[in-house]
């Protein structure tokens, strides 16, 4: 059975990685997960300079989901490259670094710094973080700025570039087309939905940052729809699907909708072994249903389907 996939130039031995920001730098989960069994490790959003992040409370639980407003707390690209990557490189698993910035130049500088760092297999460009004012989602809600960021990053790195899209837009396909046109090697979707929770007793928002990003099983139908629509419009660009994946069946929804690979995010918090359960469960499904190549499953649910009103 062949479960290996090529995510825009990142070769993964199975289609399962971690969603940025939910798995730290991987090492935090080493006690629970044999990291070498992962298809890739996607690490926390990294910026040029270290960031403290937002004031607490940073999370709130919501029905089948959670809001987070971490605010891109991270040690900065220099320490990631110097201190963290050597440890991760030793694992021999492809590492995808999620990068963010306030300006085009920030993105370019972070990307340039990571080019050639041992172990880094690709970059995931976060243009969709809802929890920082500048950059983040600003770039991600406009096809023009999104393609500018993509080009800025592509022009300074030889690494495969995945662009991470925001679901908080009217026309996701237009965004996908724009960044694909600007040279993105793959797309990742979805980042969190913007949400607010109010503490009714204190009559204030729960989060220090007021708004946060909604993740977890609650958003899965929105995420599957995003993958479906983009895969339908752009069948050739590989998609890294995520949003509420807890089990292999959840992951298969994304793959059948058109994702080449999947990432487990919030699910890690609930079940630290979720990634490996997904890896095992996908293999089992393929065995039971007689699939030899994972690629046979990609987008399979779209075959012969037309909307009643199309």
């Amino acid at each position: 059975m062949n479960t290996s996939v090529d995510l825009g130039g990142i070769v993964m031995k199975n289609p399962v990685t971690t969603a940025s920001g939910t798995f730290g730098f991987g090492l935090e989960y080493q006690t629970y997960v044999d990291l070498q069994r992962l298809g890739a490790i996607t690490v926390k959003g990294t910026t040029l300079k270290p960031r403290q992040g937002n004031p607490p409370p940073r999370i709130a639980e919501t029905p089948s989901g959670m809001l987070n407003a971490i605010g891109l707390q991270n040690p900065g690209v220099e320490r990631v490259a110097e201190e963290i990557m050597p440890q991760l490189a030793a694992l021999g698993v492809p590492v995808i670094i999620n990068i963010a910035g306030d300006t085009l130049e920030d993105y370019a500088q972070v990307a340039r710094r990571l080019d050639g760092v041992t172990g880094v297999a690709g970059l995931e460009v976060n243009i969709s973080c809802p929890n920082v004012k500048k950059g983040g989602i600003q770039f991600g809600s406009n096809p023009v700025t999104a393609s500018e960021v993509t080009r800025a990053v592509k022009s300074v790195t030889g690494l495969p570039v995945i662009v991470k899209l925001s679901p908080n837009v009217t026309d996701l396909v237009a965004m996908a087309e724009a960044v694909a046109g600007a040279g993105a090697d793959a797309l990742s979707m979805i980042n969190t939905l913007v949400g607010i929770a109010i503490d009714v007793d204190r009559r204030r928002p729960v989060l220090g940052n007021i708004t946060g990003g909604l993740s977890g099983p609650a958003i899965r139908p929105v995420a599957v729809r995003a993958v479906w629509q983009v895969h339908r419009a752009l069948p050739l660009i590989p998609i890294l699907g995520m949003g509420g994946i807890m089990t292999a069946r959840d992951a298969l929804e994304f793959i059948l909708a058109g994702a080449t690979a999947v990432a487990v995010g919030t699910g890690n918090f609930v079940n630290p072994r979720a990634t490996l359960d997904v890896v095992d469960g996908i293999e089992q499904y393929m065995k039971e249903h007689g699939f030899n190549e994972i690629s046979e499953l990609v987008g399979l649910a779209q075959r012969d389907t037309t909307r009643s009103d199309e």
Partner: protein
Amino acid sequence: MSQLMMAEITGCQETGPGVWVTELLAPSLAQAAVPGQFIHIRCGEDSDPLLRRPISIHAVCRQSGLVKIMFQVVGKGTAWLAGRRDGWLDIMGPLGRGFTMLTAEKTGTAAVPRLVVGGGIGAAPLYFLLQELAGTGYAEHVKVLLGARNAEQLLIHNAVKLLGFSVSVATDDGSAGYQGPVTDLLAEELQCKPGYVYACGPAPMLKTLCGMLHNAGVPGEVSVEERMACGVGACLSCVCRVKDAGGLETFRHACVDGPVFAAGEVVW
């Protein structure tokens, strides 16, 4: 080392109004745990409630491999937990940095007089701490102060007396012990210059306590509560604002750098 495991529930009973003690058979946890650490519990099999709930380790019997947790029902996770009378619990632990056990090597003398201060459900992890302190043979140098809203809601004080400690009690309504906040009792005790203070309780109590320790120049540790997702330092959600020796403020993570912090470093 922390593990993900299914622990068998060997008992569950209500010990106070809305406060439950659940006993788990978890030998590896019992072996590894130190006071102040917590376990991270999955409450249900579906996705609401979604996140695990952090609950301190309340008592440990290393010989039998039994571990107890004591918790107050405040929302859906703890309500679910209180409904589990048998079966298995999906837990991770032990997690976090616990209380510093002052050994002879660390202090020059282990006989430094210690105060253990608990407010409300904050008493839960202190019982495990006192179990360990009882074992050190210096129990006579330890004094316990416990606060609660009223006599009925007072926790662990009988059990702590059985361990051989002297206990003073404060209640808001005076239905047991001193009427007023437990920090009033602390004020008195601070005049005797205790060598070290361990505390756990609601944030306002800990804030007052840290201020008092600062003024009195007494060192100590407090266990804080922050909202947690991962419990292992990966999600960066459980931040606690601390200042370092130079007064510079940064964030630390309650799940790995805490939940126990030096009383002097927490910024309230």
